[in-house]
């Protein structure tokens, strides 16, 4: 196709007569409440023995150290990631990005770029004017900024050319006239200068979201306390840094159908937003998630490249690939929010909490992203594993002229957890109580409710505390190691999925279709997004367990909107719990049909039928009454017809009865405890984390290898945030403006190497949740939380300085070591600890 300048509103060349007749989808198709699902549908199937147990007494697949279904493809280099896709006639797209932190776009002249041979199209914000955003109430982003750029690196135009090289050359020839505007670079500036409005969709100045919630009587609680600790904490922003940069390949075919491959972790939400922004109906769009090279929340919403690749494909009639450079990944961001947190925490002399008061400011960057949820999560997820009689939080998220923050592993609650667990350490010191014992005394228990109305089912936190205390040799180390070495402890909880979809609707959160046939092979279809955590494998393990199949005889087809039923995607640690439950139901439905078939044939009860290891038999007479599962499938197919089943998951109604009360509500919570041992070099301020002991209650470990991998990866990531990572920006200077990323590369944004990472020991605790698939809960995010406060607390034990500000970099540690007399504080802390006999109370009341 020839070079073709575009005009605003142009949706590309007409392809067929049918395409204009279907409306694009902008919102939920069924207004909430109008088409309520039947009671029957909402009720999960009632399986004899519940859903926590093995189909026949003992597990044959679940809980075993199995390989992952895609493991060999990955280790042999055969797995296909988005950038491995090359289509015939494919063009390469690149995005033009703003060189100003905040500027009005006055004009864009692409004529010189379009004149370059091999440049096929240039699009700007006027070609994709529709606003989108992951949260339906805060849609404030455009694929390309139409009127204003809001951070250095904000996308404003896109080109498609024969090669990446040419696309890059073309970008340099696009002339943009900017009118620079005052830039808001931090929380205080955002609040002090509402007139420097970053985001026009904000109703009030630079406020993105404000939440104030109070449960119980906080002030009286604090007044009645024997001790109140007050502290201010700063959590520096950090970013996900998956090793795979974002990549999308779009192919708009002559029938008017768009196929988009993208390194996304939310194919379903991307599908909806593509429809909205491109003006194409969802049934004319197929989103496919290839193998994804890491995400950690950084690929959990639509990004400019997906819309632009699609639009450029529509405009040129050719496939278009856009691959972000590493630098662009830093601009795409959506990482951990910088947070300033002020806590007042009250306690009685017996070590029980009385009241907690939190005031939190959140630096959101230029757009909303999941910010509404972040703001709630910053308060809502603090209320377990410790019982709090009274709790108040006041959280404010503001807009600033920086790349947009969003959900990074442990979304919203990692920062407050850091602050709060440090508060607990200070309280323990104030009442001279062992900090593990203090945590035990405040344990909220299981089958209970938190102060803000979250329903807690299973809770293995005490076992987690016991496990890390034992494994680390805590009793011989805390307040006993020589100056420079120390241990610290922290705990946490996290959600296993949220109880609502991001857009209100009454449809299932997760669906599975299972196909069996006479070949003896099973195929599971599910929209779930495997980003390396192993959700594809979990599907296969469940089917193998229920139907007695070899893992190699199961194919998982996932995250392809044409082929798979909707699953909402890989965020909020929902996959194992929700997909697992959906899959369990689908598999058990077929298992039941098979069992009934065999029971009828053998004249025994269906409960006697066992499917395991490729064999179907009856427990009554396993020698004579047995056949291969393949034959069992064939007999069942002959009896009932073609074999297939569906399962879905929809969470029960949960949450507190107040505005925002459902945010943070989850069908199950995971719990973690960690002990960290550190060594501090007093002449350099360098902290070396020697070892992290991680105990995590994941309900039941469907795959111990995967659970340990999540625990280790989480602890590693927390350790990295604690000691070295920070996504920061250069302030304005005499010869340049503000907002330049401090170093958008893997050289300057330093993530730990194999030599920096401490020894990690994972201890799995299984509380067996009544509602999880076989009792499983999440493992991918919870174990990150305690690493950071545990390290901070260990540093205090080692050298007597409090680390209330992240990261605990050598310059910061050294400067703390030079203030006051930390060694004296250190000596005091231990003498008080031993004087009151705090050690003797380790057994608890």
């Amino acid at each position: 196709m020839s070079r073709r300048p575009t005009v605003p509103g142009d949706v590309g060349p007409p392809r067929s007569g049918v395409e204009a007749t279907l409306p694009a989808d902008s919102e939920a198709v069924i207004p909430p409440g109008r088409m309520m699902p039947s009671e029957e549908r909402l009720k999960p199937p009632d399986w004899p023995g519940g859903r926590t147990e093995a189909p026949h007494r003992t597990f044959t697949v679940i809980g075993k150290r199995n390989r992952k279904v895609e493991g060999l493809a990955k280790v042999t280099g055969q797995a296909i990631y988005a950038d491995d896709i090359r289509l015939p006639r494919m063009l390469h797209g690149k995005l033009l990005r703003s060189i100003h932190a905040h500027a009005r776009i006055q004009s864009i002249d692409a004529s010189e770029a379009l004149a370059l041979p091999g440049v096929h199209a240039v699009i700007t914000g006027r070609d994709l004017p529709e606003y989108y955003g992951i949260i339906p109430w805060t849609q404030d982003e455009q694929a390309l900024c139409e009127h204003k750029a809001r951070y250095v690196g904000d996308a404003i135009a896109a080109v498609a050319a024969d090669s990446e090289w040419l696309a890059e050359e073309a970008l340099r020839k696009v002339r943009v006239e900017y009118e620079p505007l005052p830039a808001v670079m931090d929380i205080d500036a955002a609040l002090e200068h509402p007139e420097w409005k970053v985001n026009e969709k904000a109703r009030d100045g630079n406020l993105s979201k404000h939440v104030h919630l109070e449960f119980g009587e906080v002030e009286p609680g604090l007044e009645r306390s024997d001790v109140v600790v007050e502290g201010e904490y700063w959590y520096e922003g950090s970013t996900h840094t998956p090793i795979e940069p974002h990549c999308a390949v779009a192919d708009y075919d002559p029938t008017g159908f768009l196929t988009l491959w993208s390194s996304t972790q939310v194919a379903h939400y991307l599908h909806r937003d593509l429809s909205r922004v491109l003006g194409l109906p969802t049934q004319r769009i197929r989103v496919i998630q290839p193998v994804v090279g890491g995400a950690f929340g950084g690929k959990s919403e639509p990004f400019s490249l997906e819309f632009c690749a699609a639009k450029l494909s529509m405009v040129t009639g050719r496939p278009v690939k856009i691959l972000y450079t590493r630098e662009e990944v830093f601009y795409a961001h959506r990482g951990r929010h910088p947070m300033r947190m002020h806590y007042r925490t009250g306690m009685r002399r017996d070590g029980t909490l009385t009241a907690v008061d939190a005031k939190i400011h959140i630096d959101g960057g230029a757009y909303s992203s999941f910010g509404l949820v972040t703001t709630y999560y910053s308060g809502q997820l603090l209320t377990a594993p410790y019982a709090m009689p009274a709790y108040r939080f006041d959280s404010t998220r503001v807009f600033t002229n920086k790349p947009c923050c969003g959900p990074k592993r442990g979304h919203g609650s990692v920062q407050p957890r850091f602050a709060f667990e440090c508060q607990l350490d200070k309280l323990a010191e104030a009442i001279a109580l062992d900090p593990i014992e203090l945590r035990r005394r405040n344990f909220i228990g299981e089958q209970t409710r938190t102060v803000n109305g979250l329903r807690v089912t299973s809770n293995g936190f005490l076992e987690c505390l016991d496990a890390v205390e034992r494994a680390s040799g805590w009793g011989t180390k805390f307040r006993r190691l020589s100056y420079g070495r120390g241990v610290g402890v922290a705990g946490s909880m996290y959600i296993s999925g949220t109880n609502y979809c991001i857009y209100p609707n009454e449809m299932p959160q997760s669906g599975v279709q299972l196909k069996l046939d006479r070949s003896g092979r099973a195929t599971v279809f599910c929209g779930a997004s495997d980003i390396g955590q192993g959700s594809d494998s979990i599907l296969a393990y469940i089917v193998a367990e229920e139907l007695g199949l070899d893992l190699r005889d199961i194919r998982v087809v996932a995250a392809d909107t044409d082929l798979t039923p909707v699953d909402l995607g890989s965020y909020s640690s929902r996959e194992t719990f929700m997909v697992g439950n959906a899959c369990l139901d689908a598999a058990r439905k077929l298992r039941l049909l098979i069992a009934e078939t065999l029971a009828a044939q053998w004249g025994c009860g269906a409960a006697e039928i066992v499917l395991a290891g490729g064999v179907a038999c009856s427990t009554g007479d396993p020698e004579r009454r047995q056949m291969s599962v393949k034959e069992a499938f064939q007999r069942t197919e002959a009896r009932v017809g073609t074999l297939g089943s569906v399962g879905w998951y929809q969470s029960p109604k949960l949450g507190g009865d107040y505005r925002g009360g459902t945010i943070g509500a989850s069908p199950a919570y995971s719990f973690t405890a960690q002990v960290v041992e550190v060594e501090c070099e007093v002449d350099t301020g360098r902290v070396e984390v020697k070892k992290i002991w991680i105990a995590h209650d994941c309900g039941r470990a469907l795959s111990p290898v995967a659970v340990e991998g999540q625990m280790e990866g989480s602890a590693y990531m927390g350790f990295a945030e604690a000691l070295m990572e920070e996504q920061v920006f250069k302030p304005a200077a005499p010869h340049h403006g503000p907002g330049l990323h401090d170093g958008p590369s893997l050289l300057d944004y330093r993530i730990p190497t194999s030599l920096d990472t401490p020894e990690l020991e994972s201890i799995i605790v299984e509380s067996v949740d009544p509602e999880g698939p076989y009792g499983a809960k999440e493992a991918g995010e919870g174990p990150l939380h305690p690493s950071i406060p545990a390290i901070a607390n260990a540093i205090y034990d080692a050298v007597g300085i409090r680390c209330d500000r992240l990261p605990f970099s050598p310059p910061r540690i050294l400067s703390s070591l030079r203030q006051g007399d930390p060694k004296r504080r250190w000596e005091q802390a231990r003498s008080e600890f031993f004087a009151t006999g705090a050690t003797a109370s380790a057994a608890g009341p």
């Binding site: 390989r67 042999t76 990631y81 491995d84």
Partner: protein, 163 residues
């Protein structure tokens, strides 16, 4: 320009421009997409391949520097007749590959290590992999995998010697 590369035991020709990196030649010229690009410029190690048995970064190597040159081994070339290399098998068994994107690079660094050191210590493994960033695993299971593979390779050699 034509670039003739010795890759995985084959002599392959592909069209390149002077400014093609070895990684681009492998991935786009020869379809060997196993080697990955993660950082653009030699900071992450995902593009690691072996050149005459030594690990190098293909994203900052110029393709023409390898024209008619040394033997290049990529992730696609370490399995023998379709049987996974012990390192590949061990990474799969231990869960050393989560998202798998750094895996080809990690594997090639480990492969180069095991060629010159049959019994590496944990510290030697960590050292050999220190130019390969992994964001998923915290490295623990990768270390286990390399140790497991080294053990199996030693057993295999001992068995072959005893036969």
């Amino acid at each position: 320009m034509v670039c003739r590369l010795r890759v995985n035991g084959d002599l392959r020709e592909c069209a390149v421009v002077p400014h093609s990196t070895l990684l681009e030649a492998l991935r786009y010229g020869l379809g060997l997409t196993g080697s990955k690009q993660g950082c653009d410029k030699g900071d992450c190690g995902a593009c690691t391949v072996a050149v005459d048995g030594e690990a190098v970064l293909s994203c900052i190597s110029l393709a023409l520097a390898f024209h008619d040159g040394p033997e290049i081994t990529t992730i696609e070339g370490v399995a023998e007749r379709g049987v996974p290399h012990p390192l590949q098998d061990a990474l799969d068994v231990t869960g050393g590959a989560q998202c798998g994107f750094c895996t080809p690079g990690i594997l090639m660094s480990a492969w180069a290590l095991l060629r010159r050191n049959q019994s590496p210590t944990r510290a030697e493994i960590a050292h050999a992999l220190s130019g390969n960033l992994c964001r998923c695993t915290g490295y623990t299971k990768i270390f286990e995998a390399v140790e497991m593979a080294a053990g199996r390779m030693r057993e295999r050699r001992a068995a072959a010697a005893g036969r």
